[in-house]
Subunit: 203 residues, 2 copies
DNA sequence: GTCTATAGCCTGATAGAC
DNA sequence: GTCTATCAGGCTATAGAC
């Protein structure tokens, strides 16, 4: 009853375990700091066994990045031209903040990659990502021209949302060191909502 | 005419060259990605010769971090209780943005360290950095109570300044990939100034 | 599919001549 | 002070038994 073409349940489970473990290790130590042995142990496998499922450390990293980039940009894609401008933007900000809270490893995986010059995803950034941002920046500019939100540089507006929200994931250690016992995600949502309301309310 | 206690000119020059080269390499590749050989070559020295000046790769990294952290926090220290609140904050924001433009390597050195959990400077973050931020957050809170700037969470206000300004250095590749040929630092100062004016103007 | 053993490379650091 | 040569350890990846 072996199925030679379709991945077996064991294969699917092991590949998933490897990717989960790799996300843990890559996001915490960066590409160079992560070792195959460490990922394998975290996934409950031996090192050669891990390399039976993926041809190389590089391949695991690539698959992780590609697979997660899409999800990561979903909230921006969801920015709806038909919705209320300010509410759409605030929903985007909120969603991004929730992702920093709930998926900090994903955020740090990208942060690690980009701080070091994005050697593996640079092509995607200047094609797919640029195209998406161009589209949404045009939408923001239209809303501004219609007077429905205040006029600011649309690209820098998007950058500000990225940086403000991802900061809580990427610089988590620093934020917590400064705040002490206070939970960062207690005050953050109210702060960013206030910020974007005041920045974008027309008039 | 050798001076056994005082560093000679050659020593001083070589140590400086090593630190300069190390900043280049560490900030671009992270601690693990940087190799002693690469730093040595960039400094115009052989690997053993570099290790004549510094006992280890770790020692170079530590000296860099310690030496730069102070400079990095100077703009926050300069926040003047006697000045005009909004203008003081805007000056701080502007100075931070200039540092991202003029010293992006320093920003990325810290970003690399912090994203990976700040293993080497965590103690400093929760003592010195926390103390400084506590002091300045108290100042901000006082200004808010006096009604001289609008009321927001002072710590998150500081985090927002850090993240917004350093984003242009740390995520430089992404920002440039999205903007294409447009210079990020053309639109950024006006954007952040508008943002903080609208956020903090009382009323 | 999973293991032990190991090849082969790279890296941090040292030895020792000059 | 600076070099060449080299060691010792850690790493990715593979070989080959089961």
């Amino acid at each position: 009853m072996t199925r030679p073409r379709q991945p077996t349940r064991i294969q699917a489970r092991n590949r998933a375990a490897i990717l989960e473990a790799a996300l843990d290790v890559f996001s915490a130590l960066g590409y160079r700091g992560a070792t195959v042995d460490r990922i394998a142990t975290a996934a409950g496998l031996s090192k050669p066994n891990l390399l039976y499922y993926f041809p190389s450390k590089e391949a695991i990293h690539e698959e992780l990045l590609g697979r997660l980039l899409d999800t990561w940009l979903d909230p921006l894609r969801a920015l709806d031209p038909e919705g209320d401008p300010l509410e759409e933007i605030l929903a985007y900000v909120r969603r991004k903040l929730e992702m920093s809270r709930d998926y900090p490893r994903e955020s740090r995986l990208f942060a690690n990659e980009i701080v070091q010059g994005a050697p593996r995803i640079h092509a995607i950034l200047s094609t797919d990502l640029k195209a998406l941002v161009d589209e949404k920046a045009a939408l923001l500019a239209r809303w501004m021209e219609e007077g429905r939100i205040a006029r600011v540089h649309p690209y820098h507006l998007i950058f500000s949302i990225w940086s403000l929200t991802q900061h809580y994931a990427d610089f988590d250690v620093q934020v917590r060191a400064v705040l002490g016992s206070e939970d960062p995600f207690a005050g953050a949502p109210e702060f960013v909502e206030t910020l974007y309301r005041r920045l974008l309310t027309p008039g």
